[in-house]
Amino acid sequence: MPFAINQQWLNVTSFDSGAPSQGAAVVHRFGSPGEYRVTFLAGEASLAQTLLAVTHQTPSRAAAPGHVTLDLTEVAYPPTLGAATSQREHAVVSPDGYVSFTNSGKPTPFAVVVHPMGEKSPAFDTRRLGPGDLFAVTLIRPGEYRVRNELEKAEGRIRVAYPVVGDRPYRPPEPLSVECGGQGFRPAQIDVKPAQGLIFQVQTVARIRIDLTHPDDGPGEEPAPRASYSREALAAALERLREARKKS
């Protein structure tokens, strides 16, 4: 089997709740039943559309699921182009349930806008999160990041520690929750382990951007030893010591 690395995760150093991709996701709860048109936008151009039904029951009268993920990759690319499943069919979620928006494919900048069917004003826009929305992200690249709420001009710092190869396999700790309110981020100085999850709980209008400012490339190569010995040299030294003791 090929030893192929999924390169995309290596180069992502910026995250945007307005265009959640590469391990980031925006979670929204619609609350009231209805039919919605979900549009993925690149700038003002529509990348893809799908339908979302917020209802208690599926067409087959089964209970609607409490969560659905709308992935741009799967919406924009039908199965013939590589997507696992097509979401051109109605996506269904319970009124109490959550819808998460993400893009597991290439990091195409996009926004998600959701309109109730027949209405022009959106019910949800990833470029403008509101109270109750969540923005989840996994930061892998070690270093210092700046985090900003572009709509409230709030700012904070995130430090991702450098991974250490230990005696046991490393498993990232539980995710860290960060409040994003009118007074900014709480905590404003966030320290996480590599690949530890961050969940921003939005309490105000927000568009959260995270950018790497100071990458941490680790300790680098080990310094050259100031002294070294070989088994032969040690044996010779011990022999010299024995000889010296005999003479003394």
Partner: protein
């Protein structure tokens, strides 16, 4: 006293066995023992003695009689039929106890042989009334039409002895008809010795004529003349025919070993070589064995082209039926057996490779081995002990392919509920597929193996054709019966896999290198992240392949048990030295003399062959069938 106290190889043939061989030659090549004219050849009942011949001689259209020209009646154009037959030939080795020699030859002295022969012959003398009617004009004989019982033949004279040129050529001879022969028999004896002759490496045992006597011939001048003729036949024909084909020989196909045998020099321990004593001819030889050079044809199929021999039938025991002395004895000294063993050992090589899927990991190997060292000891319990035979690993590479677990991050719970997780974050996986890493460890310098075995040589008789197929047809079809020497493996002590502890460190380093190489193109932080998630690689591998603390023992177990390398090597060694592949194959009946043009090979039945071992030597004994 052992047969081989003063030599490597001892061979003896008892006179009784040799006389049986002579009988087989007489029956299978009757035309070399019976001579006569064409009329005799057509009417064998005219012969003085009925010819006893093997049925295959007739079936293969071999002649019973060598046809010679008739005896001319001097001064005429008439000739007579005649015949001469060697009807009896017996060999007697010192001390003389088979033949009663005539007084002229005295008693058989030490280191001498005697041959007693009876020659019968006769002339076809025509009836008197026929001679009375023969015309006297020698140029135009006219006998009239022959009677029904009579036969005539017309011969051209040999051009080699034709009359001088310029003379008028003679007309062809006319053979006078006859009703029968007037036969006589003469007994003759020769005595002599034997010696080696020929250049080094091409020496033959050949007889030496010391005396000849024709019994009851008078006058003395006639006896002397006949003895002179008999002496010439003995020296020029008989003794060279009886020469042992060649004592020095090179056997390229003794399991890849090259064996050269030469006469042992005469010494205080060997007074005569060959020795004619104890009713036997004894030959003392020295042996030199080595690895045969690679042959161009490859494989060394035992001489001759043609289709390969079909596999031998399993051998069966064939017990001895006689109780007297063995006709044949061959003994190999401890030194000769050691030399042969060393040559066989040096000729052994094995290379093999294999791979297998063990679920969470795959594993394979490639090995190449040869043998070194070891001792071989003949023992009084009839066994041969091979000890401390080192299996040397020219190549021993083990490779392991491991499925690494998927390395993923993310996927954490965003919205936990009392019933679990309502929403999870997307997962990011490092590898596109379940990744493999492959490592190769060269353990050729770290592996030591040793083999000891006790084997018992066995002689078996392999029957490869039904009795309805005669031995000559069987040889043509390469399905002749054979005596085979096998080695019954009594015990085997194997320590095939003693792998140095350092192999654990090697494995660790190889795994680290493999991971580093696989992740080599990643930036340092990513490599660190992947390696930290994978954890200490040796621990990971331990978990994946259930690796015990003793890595060497684990590899040995996998090679020895899972891959059966242990059995593979054992089988190869056993096959090489014995087991399925006989140590020695001897055709039965044994082709003794190559066939002259138009005649069948002389095949001598070997009624019994046995092999035994004592602390001094390995002995093969046999009987020649009647």
């Amino acid at each position: 006293m052992a047969f081989t106290d003063h030599c490597d190889v001892f061979i003896s043939v008892l006179e009784a066995g040799l006389n049986r061989v002579v009988q087989h030659v007489r029956r299978q090549w009757p035309s070399l023992f019976n001579y006569g004219t064409a009329a005799v050849a057509q009417r064998s009942e005219l012969l003085c003695q009925r010819i006893d011949y093997h049925p295959v001689v007739e079936r293969r259209n071999n002649p019973l009689i060598t046809v010679e020209p008739p005896v001319p009646i001097v001064g005429s154009l008439y000739a007579l039929d005649w015949c001469a037959q060697l009807t009896k030939a017996v060999v007697d080795f010192s001390p003389g106890n088979v033949l009663t020699l005539p007084p002229e030859l005295g008693t058989l002295g030490p280191q001498r042989f005697a041959i007693g022969a009876t020659v019968c012959g006769g002339l076809a003398c025509p009836p008197g009334e026929l001679v009375d009617h023969l015309p006297f004009n020698p140029e135009r004989p006219s006998l009239g039409p022959p009677k029904a019982y009579e036969r005539t033949a017309v011969y051209e004279r040999s051009t080699a002895y034709e009359r001088p040129t310029g003379l008028r050529p003679r007309p062809p001879l006319e053979v006078l008809p006859t009703r029968g022969f007037r036969c006589f028999c003469l007994d003759g004896f020769v005595v002599g010795g034997a010696r080696f002759t020929g250049p080094p490496h091409r020496q033959h045992v050949i007889g030496r004529l010391d005396g000849i006597e024709i019994v009851d011939i008078k006058p003395e001048g006639l006896e002397n003349s006949i003895e002179c003729y008999g002496s010439l036949v003995t020296r020029l024909v008989l003794l060279p025919q009886l020469a042992v084909p060649t004592v020095e020989f090179v056997e390229q196909d003794l399991m890849g070993a090259r064996v050269a045998i030469e006469p042992s020099p005469v010494s205080a321990g060997i007074a005569f070589n060959p020795a004619l004593e104890d009713d036997q001819i004894k030959v003392f030889l020295d042996l030199d064995a080595g690895v045969a050079p690679p042959s161009g044809g490859g494989g060394g199929g035992g001489g001759g082209g043609g289709p390969p021999e079909p596999p031998l039938a399993p051998g069966v025991d064939r017990p001895r039926v006689r109780t007297d002395h063995f006709d044949l004895t061959l003994a190999l000294s401890q030194a000769a057996v050691t030399e042969l063993f060393n040559a066989l050992r040096d000729a052994f090589t094995l290379s093999a490779s294999d791979s297998a899927d063990f679920g969470p990991f795959t594993m394979g190997y490639a090995i190449g081995v040869h043998l070194e060292g070891g001792t071989v000891t003949l023992r009084n319990d009839g066994t041969i002990r091979i000890a401390e035979l080192d299996v040397k690993w020219d190549a021993a590479k083990v490779w392991i392919g491991i499925d690494l677990p998927e390395v993923c991050v993310g996927g954490f719970c965003i919205i936990p509920t009392p019933f679990g997780c309502a929403v999870r974050a997307p997962r990011l996986c490092v590898f596109d597929e379940n990744p493999d890493i492959g490592i190769t460890i060269d353990i050729s310098g770290l592996i030591a193996s040793e083999l000891s075995a006790t084997v018992r040589p066995l002689m078996k008789y392999s029957i490869n054709h039904p009795v309805t197929v005669n031995d000559w047809d069987a040889r043509d079809m390469k399905i002749q019966n054979r005596w085979v020497v096998l080695a019954d493996i009594v015990t085997v002590d194997v320590d095939l896999f003693d792998i140095a502890d350092i192999v654990g460190d090697l494995l660790h380093e190889a795994l680290d290198d493999a991971i580093d190489n696989a992740l080599g193109f990643l930036p340092g932080w990513a490599k660190s992240l992947v390696k930290s998630i994978l954890g200490p690689i040796i621990d990971l591998v331990v978990a994946i392949i259930d690796l015990p603390d003793d890595v060497g023992e684990w590899i040995a177990d996998k090679l020895g048990v899972s891959f059966g390398v242990l059995n593979l090597i054992l089988t190869a060694v056993a096959d090489h030295f014995a087991a399925k592949k006989p140590l020695l194959k001897i055709e039965e009946p044994l082709p003794l003399l190559p066939s002259p043009t138009g005649l069948i090979d002389v095949l001598v039945p070997i009624e019994f062959l046995g092999v035994r071992v004592n602390a001094d030597e390995l002995i093969v004994e046999g009987d020649i069938g009647g």
